[in-house]
């Protein structure tokens, strides 16, 4: 029973991280139908930035929640700028070209960013400090959920609520929904599509930065390559849920997180990736548009 509970908490934690990254994939796809393969690298840069800022700010004397939130703030802002620049440099010049062109550009950016961080920072693993202060009220749950796991799930939940409010309630959120339904018509009603695309990249990158900060705390280490597998998994989660659908990305990420956790716990941790991708194949065979995706017909 305790194993089962542990696996549930582990699955929820993994699923939350995947969800934070998967949202960036699904939102960008929803707006410009591009799989942004460099998105995993933004997450990796988020972890690095959080690490660097926590070192600097820690040396300046910041501790506890202040350190966590200021390091998080800088990581989020820094990644937002990365996301914005990435779109302007690698995707915007290719808009209107065949869909393959920006896809190749995305893969190129992914490799570029990995190698850039490897050269500028280090090819080795870096230890990541434990930034999350003790949470007293968790003592009753000792052995079930750690403070880091709790923080990950809580931070993800808060991010989801914030994202939902942003998309439902603000003007730009409304414009994003309009563009994802019909970009041409959105432009004809006066929506500035460049702003909407930039905002989408910025928000996706901010969520990825939160994910990067949290995974650093969870894994106690980071390196230039963490974005690759995490990006792949998050992309899988987005496809599983129905790419382009925001609730779909979250559902897909949780399914993936839980199935990995259970596979690792009940079979062997060697099997967690196998189970994840078998699941992907199985669901796509039965529902090619993903769990929450709707079959769309291409307009001519």
């Amino acid at each position: 029973m305790e194993l089962f509970l542990n696996l549930c908490v582990g699955g929820l934690t993994k699923g939350s991280i995947y969800a934070l990254i998967a949202l960036g994939y699904t939102m960008v796809y929803g707006i410009i139908a591009l799989i942004n393969f460099a998105h995993g690298e933004i997450y990796m840069i988020g972890a690095f930035t959080a690490l660097i800022f926590s070192m600097v700010l820690g040396a300046l004397g910041l501790t506890g929640w202040g350190l966590l939130f200021s390091a998080g703030f800088f990581a989020v802002v820094y990644c937002a700028m990365y996301g914005w620049t990435l779109e302007k440099v690698a995707y915007k010049p290719l808009r209107g070209q065949s869909r393959l062109a920006p896809l190749i550009s995305a893969i190129g950016m992914s490799i570029f960013l990995q190698n850039y961080v490897q050269l500028v920072q280090t090819p080795n693993f870096l230890a990541f400090p434990d930034l999350i202060p003790d949470l007293g009220f968790l003592s009753g749950f000792r052995g079930v959920a750690s403070k880091t796991q709790f923080a990950i799930v809580a931070a993800t939940a808060v991010s989801m609520v914030a994202l939902t409010l942003f998309i439902k309630k603000t003007r730009i959120g409304m414009a994003m929904r309009a563009v994802s339904q019909d970009p041409t018509m959105a432009r004809l009603t006066g929506v500035n599509i460049d702003k909407v695309i930039s905002t989408t990249f910025i928000i996706g990158s901010m969520l990825a930065a939160v994910g990067g900060l949290l995974i650093g705390n969870y894994a106690h280490q980071t390196d230039f390559f963490i974005g690759f597998l995490a990006g792949m998994k998050a992309f899988t989660a987005a496809v599983l849920g129905g790419i382009g659908s925001i609730p779909g990305a979250v559902v897909g990420a949780l399914i993936l997180g839980f199935s990995e956790s259970f596979a690792a716990g009940y079979i062997s941790s060697d099997y967690e990736d196998v189970v994840a991708f078998v699941l992907l194949i199985a669901i796509l065979t039965l529902r090619p548009d993903g769990i929450m995706g709707s079959a769309t017909t291409q307009k001519v």
Binding site: Q181, L188, G190
Partner: protein, 265 residues
Amino acid sequence: MTDAVPRDPVLSTSGITMIFGGLTALSDVNFSVERGSITALIGPNGAGKTTFFNCLTGIYRPSRGTMVFSPEPGKSFGLKKLAPDRITWLGIARTFQNIRLFNNLTVLENVLIACHSRMKAGILGALLRDRRTRDEENAMAEFSYRLLARYGLGPSANHVAKNLPYGAQRRLEIVRALATRPSLLLLDEPAAGLNIAETRELDDLIKYIRANESLSILLIEHDMSLVMSVSDMVYVLDYGSLIASGPPDEIRRDPKVIKAYLGED
């Protein structure tokens, strides 16, 4: 063809030519819409009418020719190099033959989106929600509600657009276009798919718009009774070229027009 040049056109094009690969969809179209008028563009299927609209709204860029839009007397803008959202901002709005609403947005949101093109506050304002932005957003919401109420869509403001009946969707598409506050409204076959009663309502709606909003209307339509009833001026397009223009009564009797529609005997 009558060559009366309007004294104060809201829109005039000269030599508009649109070539797709080897196909000439529009060839040397000289066209104008008198300010405050309802002008109709008719012609058989495939004559290039919608292509012409797509050129005007920036979806296509014509291969040759110029398009000049004058939102108010004394002001004029060349449209050829402008992006669609910029053209909307200058004051041209349009509807589509196959209704293109934002289906998953509510009726109100469909109109709000269009209103927002006129807002001054930027992204920062939307995020920080300062007082000025909120005031402006509230004013937009009120404007949208009033517009919907005026066109009989008030009670369904919070319904999802795709759940409206067809006739109401058509009406909403026109209201959304009006919400961008255009000086020229382009209607692409607004009567397509409407039954006789709905077409009659549309006839009233177009006349109501003309009477109550200060704008000019350019209409593509197949329903001749509607065209004859509402328009001041009719242009006829066939195989990408204008073959006739004049008041509705004249066009109805023009042998070239009859031939284009019915074929030669």
